[in-house]
């Protein structure tokens, strides 16, 4: 498997991250996950804009963001993928600096850039049957809008979900359902879609924006308002969204089966419209 590392395309096992990389010592870095459909990057401009916002938010000065797209496509080529659905993982850290100390290193320390690619295997079962999620207290920091690699709280929450036979943990902060550990979260009540508003407490999902557009297009009203945990029982459907997740129905939360335990009607309408949008290739 060939990856991109600091200007070089090389075999994964040749890549040498220094233990003094600030990504390793301090989680001092940000990332993006971008996918293709039909061999083309989906919503690349939006991902790039978010990535730049993350870099700016933590003041990593990386001047070569304009080269990322060509390096991603080059990686696609070099790995000779035949599957047209590939996800790319891009991480930029504040670089290597010795000795270890908290403040930023001097301005001449170059950021570390890593890009890898992997095939997306769609989980048809989850789409047709739905997944189980759990509710988890949101222990994360208060800058969840930054897509940083400081992800330990998300890892622990997601692992807890897996241990409970679930696939995703929905993070609750101050009684409100904010988002999943690595997805955005949605509910449907009386035919209307609810999702937490953009703030410093959730990731501004690219798929979230696509879904908002789709709902507007197919005439489903959206309330950008977080769902109260005490109001869960009044909701008819739930789903999660994300770049590789797309739209996944949530048919069970903790011990509670949602509705009749199958993907909800409006969720399916949104998912179908999402697929049509992708198929339309209007985003090319």
């Amino acid at each position: 498997m060939i990856v991109y590392f600091n200007g070089q395309f090389q075999e994964l096992n040749e890549v040498k991250i220094s233990p003094f990389d600030r990504g390793f010592l301090y989680a001092d870095g940000v990332y993006e996950v971008i996918r293709t459909y039909y061999g083309k990057l989906f919503k690349y401009a939006d991902h790039l804009e978010r990535f730049k916002a993350s870099l700016d938010a933590i003041k990593i000065n990386y001047a070569e963001t304009d080269l990322l797209e060509q390096n991603i496509y080059k990686l696609f080529e070099l790995n000779k993928y035949t599957n047209p659905n590939i996800s790319f993982y891009i991480q930029i850290t504040r670089g290597v600096s010795f000795p270890r100390k908290h403040p930023f290193p001097s301005a001449d320390v170059k950021p570390t850039v890593f890009i890898s690619a992997s095939t997306i295997e769609n989980d048809e079962h989850a789409i047709n049957k739905g997944i189980k999620a759990i509710l988890e207290e949101d222990t994360r920091w208060t800058r969840c809008n930054i897509k940083s690699v400081s992800l330990l709280p998300a890892v622990l929450a997601n692992q807890h979900a897996v241990e409970e036979g679930a696939e995703e943990a929905i993070m609750i902060r101050d009684g409100l359902l904010m988002e999943g550990s690595h997805t955005n979260f949605w509910g449907i009540k009386n035919g209307e879609v609810w999702t937490a508003p953009l703030s410093n407490l959730i990731l501004p999902g690219i798929t979230r924006t696509v879904i908002l557009e789709i709902c507007s297009y197919i005439g489903i009203r959206v309330n950008e308002q977080a769902i109260d945990k005490n109001d869960i029982n009044n909701f008819d459907e739930f789903f999660i969204s994300g770049t590789t997740t797309e739209v996944k129905p949530v048919t069970q939360i903790g011990a509670d089966v949602i509705g009749s335990g199958v993907p909800g009607e409006i969720t399916c309408r949104i998912y179908d419209a999402y697929l049509k949008y992708v198929e339309s290739r209007n985003w090319f």
Copy 2:
């Protein structure tokens, strides 16, 4: 410089961390900093206990913690340090796993273990003159008692301090001064010492415990109670503590000079008692 990496003692530039190390991708790891005095590890048992607690808290199963001490001393030897004041940095992550996904990898994935050593240069100036600190909203997660490498919020806070001409940022949560970005925080009012109580919101500092013992020994009353930001002006002295920081007077917080701007009397008594304790070698 020789470091320890996964069972090997090797030159730092030979160490190859995989980009798929969960420490790099997810900040999925914990660390310790342990120092020597007179060539002996200070409070090793306490550091080891805390390290084990951190590993347990994030469920990293590392069976060889009993070997850490000998590997640390071996590193001391191999680097031929003549300075008897060395700090050791030990990091254990959940290991290397491909493809990238949030849940823990299978149980046969071995944790990554990295240890490095560096000389401690004491900052006599700060001890005699005191340092400046700033106040910073605590954006961190709510498990600050775990010494994890998910440190981006602490990095950003500390960098902000440096940009303000200060050395440390004191984290304020719900109006209370919890701790520094990488130190514990203390205040003195009417001859009594205050510091935040142990909880999930601060690190249980090893030096913090030593200082509590010292205060008890020299007859200074301690309130384990966090200082309210509105009560700062009623305090006479402040200091920070940590393994390499030891006891450092804080003589300015933001724009406010504390007292007459020189290290406070009780801070100096505590620092002197700390040095005597170290010199006594009673902790050998």
